[in-house]
Symmetry: C2
Subunit: 209 residues, 2 copies
Amino acid sequence: MQKSLSVSEYSSILLENAVNEFSRLPGIGKKTALRLALHLLREDAHHAQALAQAITQMRDNILLCEKCYNISDTKLCGICSNPKRDENTLCVVADLRDVLAIERTSTFNGLYHVLGGVISPVEGISPSDLHLQALVDRTQKESFNEIILALPATIEGDTTNYFIFKQLSAFKGKITSISKGIAIGDALEFADEITLSRSILNRTPFTAL
Amino acid sequence: MQKSLSVSEYSSILLENAVNEFSRLPGIGKKTALRLALHLLREDAHHAQALAQAITQMRDNILLCEKCYNISDTKLCGICSNPKRDENTLCVVADLRDVLAIERTSTFNGLYHVLGGVISPVEGISPSDLHLQALVDRTQKESFNEIILALPATIEGDTTNYFIFKQLSAFKGKITSISKGIAIGDALEFADEITLSRSILNRTPFTAL
């Protein structure tokens, strides 16, 4: 009964540190952070080691692809360096999660260009914060036939689409945009009005599959 | 365009490792894990370092208090080693989160005993998996006047309460249990039937505050 320091709320500074660090992550509050830390304490020690190591190694060694700004372990990402990809089609996305999402559909075999966001005056993201100049450069150096704009269906996405469209005035190929409308499997009554009105305005010729 | 390895789904093995490790944590799926990993990539590198270090240090150095089995940075936890705590009252809880919860209320100034769970045949937790013998030993060595059973208000909690009560037959002091009933601020109509019937059966003399 020697010490009577004012002890941390968690009766352990070590636990408190871990909880604090976990709770800096997005969507993780103090309660969840505590649950995660206690889970690591209950589990075998190598789980905690593996997590810590994976975090450190990722943060220290990961790169952005020199060409498309997708994340990569090598200078050129696996998509840019894959000779089987169609080098004539470029898909412009806001975020690297969008690359993952599109890759998961297996319907696109071209290359990507990751902007790193969309133009948003509200959030203080201007064109110069994005990999837009690099996009323009690529369209001059590489031989694309088509550039697909696959940005979010938001005002910011539309603004960025328009900005890119203007920037690419010298581009000779097609510039297309992903279609917007009601989601597959959705009933019309549950679609919001703007989506529904867009999907009527942008109706396409019917083709029997 | 040299390499065309089959690349990880995340276009980076480093990212994939981090996602996999995060998604082993309870309540964290692949999508959330990806969000966490990408957050660490976007943020300053020292955030990722701090998280990794906090995890490692916690896992490597944290102890269980020799007396009460609360987690601790030292052999005796801050509560057991605090001479200002009332050494005559012992509160038996299932989990160290319960210690935190009770400490937050500032209504208890005694000592704790953390069982590490409750007896649960369904989950295969038998009395020998819990710090029950240590509890019996403590009641013989230390000078408690009262032992408060603060286990969960579940069948398993009740079973464990009963088991402890039997084990402590030699204990001369009071054995009490936290009260159960409708939560403060709750309307009766929203309380479940079992809670409401318990709170009628266990009614207490009215005292004007």
